[in-house]
Amino acid sequence: MRKLLLTLVLALVAPLAAAQQGLTTAISANPESLDPQLTFNGFSFVVTNQLYETLVRMSEEGEIQPGLATEWEYPEPSRLHLTLREGVEFHDGTPLTAQVVKESIERLIDPATGAPGRFVVTAIDEVNVIDDLTVEIVTEPPFAPLLAHLSHPVTAIVPAQNADTLSRNPVGTGPYTFEQWIDGTQITLTANENYWGGEPAITNVTFRIVPEVSTQIVELRSGGLDIIFSIPPDNFVSLQDTQGIETESFLGWGSAHLGFNIDSPKLEDVRVRQAIAHAIDKDLIIDEFMRGLALPAVSPIPPTVRFAAELDEPYPYDPEAAEALLEEAGATNLSLRLDIYQNPELESVAQVLQAMLADVGINLDIRVQEYAAYVESAQSNAAELYATTWGTVTLDADYTLFAFMHSSEIPQNNMSRYSNPEVDALLEEGRNNPDDEARAAAYLEVQERALQDLPLVNLYYPLSTYAKRDTLQGEDIRFSWMMLDLREAQLAQ
């Protein structure tokens, strides 16, 4: 009876819904810009990724795959030649040429553009046109992760001649063209009939701006949304048993860390850091607080990232060993401060850490601040412990290992203040040596040193989650929800 009533009601309101053909999804905030060079947020990139394309893509196995470029080679280690796909046009009909690619990258690396994501491509020195469809990217010294960086959404190719209007009137080469942006409400896209890979089956995509996860869930269940992303573990578990809804989780590029300021007198003794590592029950955090939606971390980078090493846990949960180490180091009655930023996941993890450390006699004082204020505190000399979630967004080990462990990154990203000339040399080798085997060897050693010297404890790799109505099939989402790819997706009627 209830179903019948529901059907009747739905039939009455159907004309309302009928205006929305195609797929509707939600993002949690209004993007600041639909120019991929002027943003660095997932909720912007998930839209720009439908409109624009990068030169190369990353396969699930960490292989570089063709995007707007079909072939590439290194005539010299510092020169990358990319051959562009033939016959690609921007949505306004402008053909994709080497000149356009050159102008796009030059705009991104020009400090005057004010691109927040410029740091992803600072290695690029110049871009040259070899011929109409061949472009040369010069990095001096050689920058081995260059292709991985060129798979990041911020490097998507934009027509620089439209630079001033791309924010609000995006023009790319992607499978969808821009239709309308109702500020704060929704962004609508239409399938690109002339897309080089063939017109997508889903003809319209609407990104509704719905800030609250609970609202998104009600919308998904009532049919207002077809797919939602990044669902908190508790909500995810409750959606798993909902009829008509499919839930998916996958290992992405994310990780969570507890960092030490190793210059702090309380933490300079590696035995104290080892004791803290032994005091943490990673499985408990994962089972209880992440509802099983994470994997325990040993290396700073998850297995999805190129050159991530499979390592055994040297510091299994062992409170007795922790206490013994603390006693040996003469660090009894230790009281430490943990800096974190406002983030529900980190805040609950911090509380668990507090309880776990209390079990071995360490008093933990948690300080939660806004992100920018947190960074200031964690970078100050007075910092002790800090916790952060992180994304290896280029999917290459260099991105995270260099940031966390190279001495030139102190204190900006290397908040642990870890400084070791040998590790610096290994990281530079990994960054500059074009040979993959040599890179793998260098990064293996760096990851082992990270465990030995323990500038940070790697807590877990969170799984990315999404939930969709079971009518949606064929979507491809790798590494992060923002990499949503609908080119092969279909909606069953």
Binding site: L6, V9, L10, V13, L16, A29, N30, E32, S33, L38, F40, N41, G42, P111, A112, T113, G114, P116, R118, F119, V120, T122, S167, R168, I182, D183, G184, T185, Q186, R208, I209, V210, P211, E212, S214, T215, V218, E219, R221, S222, G224, Y341, Q369, E370, Y371, A372, A373, Y374, V375, E376, T388, W390, G391, V393, Y399, T400, A403, E409, Q412, N413
Partner: protein, 309 residues
């Protein structure tokens, strides 16, 4: 009267100037690097060199007094500036959100008055009876229940179970119903309480007794004699609520994904988008003060004894 209005309008200028100064100073004493707040935590991995480049690109490397003077200079020429993050004109950003805010505020106040006034009047007339207590409980519930809970309950009932209304967003009149009810319900509580106490006060007045003695019907006494005189404090509260909703309906806007000015302001504060914060606060302050002026002027209309010279 015109002289009074002119004086009041002139008085807005120093207040608005003070608002810009306070907002500017508050943004700068907030701990943390504003550039980091602007680009957000997603840009972890950025190097210190690039942070300095961005600081220069955003114009945040200039001395504070210069930044402020530039801003005021622009303001005097009617330029509210450009949002750092979206690079759109601040005035355009506000105008894009204003219709949504006005719609929700007007509808919400409509609901609030529809619930609040009758509730307050009834409670006053039937003081210390079941009706009064019920009204007090309803008012208390309105003030106490947070919208992120009541909003969700409304959504579950009317969208998920009954399928009558869209759960969130903006577009048709159906979209407006739940957020307006959620806002109206909580505002109605204040209106009901102030109406009740003001009515009780007036019902005690001699002229009410006189009206009863003259043989006027109870309805006429209550509505024509008492209620009209009880309206002054009610109008004040309604004016304040109205002004408050223009920028302060953030929770409702967030729960129902309503694209109002309040949500935009909170996003701007979170990302330290100073020109957008300045412009929006200034705009809200201006409207708030204009509403207050209207409220003050309405006193004269409600009570002829009040004159503005």
């Amino acid at each position: 009267m015109i002289g009074y209005i002119a004086r009041r309008l002139l008085g807005l200028v120093p207040v608005l100037f003070g608002v810009t100064l306070i907002v500017f100073l508050m943004t700068w004493v907030t701990p943390g690097d504003p550039v980091l707040a602007i680009i957000g935590e997603a840009a972890q991995g950025i190097g210190s060199e690039q942070l300095e480049e961005l600081r220069a690109a955003y114009g945040l490397d200039r001395p504070l007094p210069v930044q402020y003077a530039d801003y005021i200079g622009g303001l005097l020429q009617g330029d509210l500036g450009t949002s750092i993050r979206s690079r759109q004109q601040v005035i355009d950003e506000i105008m894009l959100r204003l219709p949504a805010t006005l719609q929700l505020t007007l509808a919400g106040m409509g609901v609030a008055l529809l619930i609040g006034l009758p509730l307050g009047i009834l409670a006053a007339i039937y003081r210390r009876t079941f009706i009064d207590y019920t009204a007090i409980v309803v008012a208390l519930a309105g003030v106490s229940i947070p919208v992120f809970w009541s909003g969700l309950i409304l959504m579950i009932i009317f969208s998920l179970n009954l399928g009558w209304l869209p759960a969130s967003g903006m577009g048709t009149w159906q979209h407006l119903v739940m957020p307006a009810v959620a806002i109206g319900f909580s505002s109605s509580a204040f209106i009901a309480r102030i109406t009740r106490s003001s009515m009780i006060e007036t019902l005690r007045q001699d002229y009410v007794r006189t009206a009863h003695a003259k043989g006027a019907s109870a309805t006429r006494v209550h509505l024509r004699h008492a209620f009209r005189n009880a309206l002054l404090p009610v109008v004040t509260v309604v004016g304040l609520q109205f002004g408050g909703l223009l920028g302060g309906a953030v929770l409702t806007e967030t729960v129902f994904a309503w694209p109002g000015v309040g949500r935009m302001l909170v996003d701007a504060i979170r990302t330290r988008d100073l020109p957008l914060i300045q412009g929006t606060v200034l705009f809200i302050a201006l409207i708030f003060m204009l509403i207050n002026l209207l409220v003050d002027l309405s006193y004269a209309a409600l009570n002829p004894k009040i004159r503005y010279d």
